[in-house]
Amino acid sequence: MMPLGKKTNETIVMNAPANNLNDVNRIAFGAEFSGDLATANDIRIDGKFDGRLYCEGRLVVGEKAVIKGDFFCTDVDFSGTMTGGNIYTRETLSLKGNCSVHGDLYFKRFQVELDAKFTGACKVLEEGEFAKVSAALATMLK
């Protein structure tokens, strides 16, 4: 096991190249995606998404976003609405104030702000569980 501080630094370095706006995937407000999406970069959703999503970076769900389905991500910042499904987060899952989540959450670390609405189950991921559940979608990137 690595010290917690060191691990955090590594995560930041890993995400640094994706800070270029052109590398961030985006589902804009007014756009609806349904299907499977796999990405090595970050993704921001402000529109609607229904399906399965695999993201090796950070998933940001904006306030107006409505999502449904299975999500496999390294980090998640959630401010929108989830109407059903599962979120698997390899590192940190953060539910922001006024978000609304119906679904089950799996994570390593979890943070909830005041006024976040959450209905569902919570579970800490076991070693290797993330890789196992996300394997099918991760192959899309190859």
Binding site: N25, A31, I43
Partner: protein, 147 residues
């Protein structure tokens, strides 16, 4: 033409991303990764040099620099095939612009507004999936004729 597009309103499939499925959007979209499925946009599609597109695309305007494996493209206004792009498939457009060194294997068709609207509506109906609304429309049509 409004070239000052707010970046936040553009959907984007970046390089290093694969998407399989269906996209409907009222705004613009940029693809630099892999796309497979159906895209219906009321705005502009920009496919970058690294983009791989397979499937049906229905758009207002298209700037295409990437690779299209197989599929059909319907463009209500202008289709621009940029230098270095490669298109295998059928393209339907109102206005076409092709740069030197664009590779095209497929058929080219012009498209008028009525045809485009028909195809766009059909695609929207397929997307709405449940067959009930379509049936209702037919019934309404039949009722209209009787009257």
């Amino acid at each position: 033409m409004d070239n000052n597009v707010n970046l936040n309103e553009v959907s984007r499939i970046s390089a290093g991303t694969a998407f399989k499925g269906e996209i409907t959007t009222s705004g613009d979209i940029r693809i630099d990764g892999k796309f497979e499925g159906r895209l219906n946009s009321k705005g502009r599609l920009v496919a970058g040099e690294g983009a791989q597109v397979n499937g049906d695309v229905i758009c207002q305007n298209v700037d295409f620099s990437g690779k299209m494996g197989k599929g059909t493209v319907y463009v209500a206004d202008t289709l621009a095939l940029k230098s270095g792009c490669s298109v295998n498939g059928d393209v339907h457009y109102k206005r076409l612009q092709v740069e030197l060194d664009a590779k095209i294997n497929g058929s080219l068709h012009t498209l008028d507004e009525a045809e485009f609207n028909k195809i766009a509506n059909q695609s929207a109906a397929v997307k709405a999936a449940p067959s009930k609304p379509a049936q209702n429309e037919k019934q309404d049509d039949a009722a209209g004729k009787e009257n």
